[in-house]
Symmetry: C2
Subunit: 247 residues, 2 copies
């Protein structure tokens, strides 16, 4: 052991995993022995942008937790087009519901911004769900929250026009106590467009409309919202929630 | 007891409920004492078209099972527009996930075709979930299936154009072994349009497009599909499933 290691003991991968799991509510109701197993069998990996973690219908041997970065959840149509179902970041768990879905993933997952991702064998999750009712109940809460988010997505895709959908996306990035905001969009515009279920052309046209009608100003990846209240009035009439919303 | 009752014993409401529950997979893993409780506390009601069973955010004291008819699941935006999240028929359970959602309904439910609906106190469901791990697991399967259906809805709303969405809706009504089909649309066109997330005007325009490009013929509420294969080629390239699909 070097002098430095005496002062700053080097963390093992298992200890790192234990620390990360302790902060994520999805794992909270698991029994200690299961957490130990996850710690031993878990892997932490740095995954570069563009890497496909798995494809739709692949055998679901593992489930995943994002520690850092962004992951896109998608399906490909027979015609080769891509539908983005969700875009996830730190703290999100994915591939976990495959244990109820014939043990195959129901979607693909691709890293869209350099990421650090943990993965665990699915059979540990399956056994814990079958043996520990407290965890099964917390899993029900977890899926139920996902369900609500999907309902909200379907609602917004039904009633918001493209400009309102972009407005909604921007408002979710604003801190609620602000009256104005400057946002830096980290994703490529084509990705935001796909996430919002529109073509890049519609995205550009609608952004221009927002600029004219809702007082936002765009310069490259930087968007300035001079009056959040004005954007709220423009956007949130086409939603069942009141701003600020949490889903 | 009359002579007739001796030959045809009159079924009590409890017996009717028991018979209905026995056929629905959602209730299969419940313990016998819970089924008895549901039988005692359940209600069967005939509900006319237009009746609102509950609204978004109402206290969720009961959950529901459709025996006959159709129910629309919806949300209203602040601007007064309606988003249809789903349209359910016989065998569907709704309001059941509210036990995980602060005991309030996350959507409204309205009868859109005269219906017979069973309802049960939510606390019976809540207790059974907390005490019987077999039922908790089957509830997880149930929510997971709902999740997949919502993913499919988001996928289709992302990649299908309006005409393909109508084509998809029609194909789901076809029997797979047919080469052609004649369908009678029971719902009003405005309702189908809303269910598919489009305005009535877009619906009419897209139906005309389908008539021209995918060989369907429309006369009032009757739609004739002369070549199902042609409609499949037109529609299913914008989907990740192969026809016939089950979700």
């Amino acid at each position: 052991m070097t002098a430095l290691e005496k002062i700053l003991p080097i963390e093992t991968e298992g200890q790192k995993i234990a620390k990360i799991l302790a902060a994520i509510v999805f794992f909270a109701a698991m029994r200690p022995q299961t957490k130990n197993l996850l710690q031993r069998e878990g892997r932490i990996q740095s995954v570069p942008k563009g890497h496909i973690i798995f494809m739709n219908e692949d055998d679901a041997a593992r489930f995943y937790l994002i520690q850092r970065g962004w992951v896109k959840i998608f399906r490909e149509t027979l015609g080769g087009e891509e539908a983005i179902l969700d875009v996830l970041t730190a703290g999100s768990v994915f591939g976990e519901t495959s244990i109820f879905e014939n043990k195959a993933y129901a979607y693909g997952a691709e890293v869209i911004e350099d990421a650090v991702i943990l993965s665990f064998p699915s059979h540990i999750l399956e056994n814990e769900t079958a043996e520990n009712i407290d965890f099964a109940l917390s899993f029900l809460q977890h899926i139920s929250r996902k369900n609500l988010a999907k309902d909200k997505e379907i609602e917004l895709r039904s009633v918001q026009n493209a400009a309102q959908r972009i407005g909604c996306f921007l408002l979710r990035l604003c801190k609620t106590e602000q009256r104005s905001a400057t946002l830096h969009l980290a994703w490529e515009k084509s990705l935001i467009a796909a996430r919002l279920g529109m073509t890049p052309e519609t995205f550009s046209r609608s952004l221009a409309k927002l600029q004219k009608e809702a007082g936002i100003h765009i310069k490259g990846p930087t968007i300035t919202i001079s009056d959040i209240g004005m954007l709220v009035r423009y956007t949130c009439t086409a939603c069942s929630n009141v701003f600020p919303c949490d889903n």
